[in-house]
Symmetry: C2
Subunit: 273 residues, 2 copies
């Protein structure tokens, strides 16, 4: 297989069983050449992504939602920065969902995310998402178990509605190993310009690593649908993660078969005085 | 004078009189070398902007609002794309304000813009803004004259509040000549991939060129304040416009004297298991 198979290879099909511990987070099997050889291809993919976004924006028809989830230090920020930094900032919005505010908690859990879904011609990236309202609620026991269990249905139906109304949805789980997380957290502690990224509270999430992994496995199995599939992206090697995500993005956008809009007037007849 | 004087040179001070017809839209006087020589400097400025945004985001303290206004084809989209495309998309949001919806019209004119002002650590770019609710209302006589006249006060007080609450505001008017607009509109008609950018209705705005220029002169004079200054950027030469805007952005962000946040725990004492 080649990198061109990423879309198919890393996609979780409805009914698939997910065992994260059996998935090698350091996998780089779809690209033989290694990091330095990959940079030229990555560059080409970013250029193509830039071109595809131009048509998306011009056509003002399709809406694209990318949901990013990962353990702490899993690479959500870095992935956005590297894969999308060449795209016109006007056409891509990143919405990071943090701990909900009092007002947000005073509404249903989809209220705050619904406000930020993409409109026509837009790409929106959710850095964390409504899936935290299942995962964190489950692992940290914030509400009774019936709450996160019924939310599977809520997110599936919500995403189905978005998809049927014209939104293309891609959900990416950046999968890192526990050892890799340790290395990344330690590197934050070794660099004063990265201290701000480190939150001592993150360690309590790390202490519940297995619970989170189990939560993710269940969540991905239950909510990977045809209209809003999950992809499990090997995340230990940043270059490979970026390459795979760029490849998937390009293939998904190509699949929309977009074109510049035609106009209902004759350009040759216009006179500019 | 040099390009380093742009911040001062193109700023409209409170009390300044503005006569757009007396300002050369093809001005490139702060940079001697011409376009090709300027690209290296432009590259450096974009790199510095990228670095400054990282600190802005990490420090999570300052908020930066850029208001972009111009005549049709004045370069708002191109300016955003070129100056900001290297910045982490997570830290910069572009909000384009189009013709208001029914719901928006059913609220005060600041309601829809207020929802999109930057939060801590964010840069937000308004592509058109609340200034359309003065300018278009005036030129197209959408409401009585008393409406746009009293809105000067409303926008001044709104921006003062934002500034006093911690937002840095920069307002950029991209100034192009009528001849240059003609060239740009014609180039859209000559390229099928640009047809979508052309709206035959734009010609009716062009027919009122002088009214719009007069509206802008008055608006800039009346609303350029210490806390939210206007800059009149020569826009006929795209490379120079981009260079000046990048230079101004860098100088404004430098002026915030930002630094990576310190932490209230000891990085050496943390053990990651």
């Amino acid at each position: 297989m080649k990198i061109g198979d990423a879309l198919k290879h890393y996609r979780v099909k409805p009914g698939d069983k997910v065992a994260l511990s059996a998935i090698n987070a350091a996998d780089a099997s779809l690209y033989e050449g290694g990091k330095s050889a990959s940079l030229e291809l990555f560059d080409e993919l970013r250029d193509e992504l830039q071109e595809l976004q131009k048509v998306l924006y011009a056509q003002n028809k399709h809406r694209v939602l990318i949901v990013l989830q990962a353990m702490d230090s899993g690479g959500k920020d870095g992935c956005v920065k590297h894969v999308f930094s060449r795209v016109d900032p006007q056409g891509v919005n990143v919405k990071a969902f943090k701990k909900p505010s009092e007002e947000e908690l005073a509404h249903d859990f989809l209220w705050r995310v619904h406000q930020h879904v993409p409109g026509n011609g837009q790409i929106v990236i959710f850095n964390r998402s409504h899936y935290e309202d299942i995962l964190a609620v489950r692992v940290k026991k914030l509400f009774g178990d019936e709450v996160w269990k019924r939310r599977y249905r809520h997110v599936i139906e919500f995403e189905r509605m978005l998809a049927e109304e014209g939104t293309t949805i891609i959900k990416l789980f950046l999968h890192i190993s526990k050892d890799e997380q340790k290395r990344r957290l330690e590197s934050r502690l070794a660099n004063p310009a990265k201290y701000w990224k480190f939150n001592p509270d993150d360690l309590s999430d790390r202490a519940r690593w297995d619970d989170f992994q189990k939560g993710y496995e269940d969540l991905i199995e239950k909510t990977s649908t045809d209209q809003a599939p999950w992809f499990i992206i090997p995340g230990d090697r940043k270059w490979y993660r970026n390459l795979v995500v760029a490849r998937i993005m390009v293939d998904v956008l190509r699949g929309l078969k977009m074109e510049f809009p035609t106009v209902n007037w004759d350009p040759r007849s216009v006179v500019i005085e």
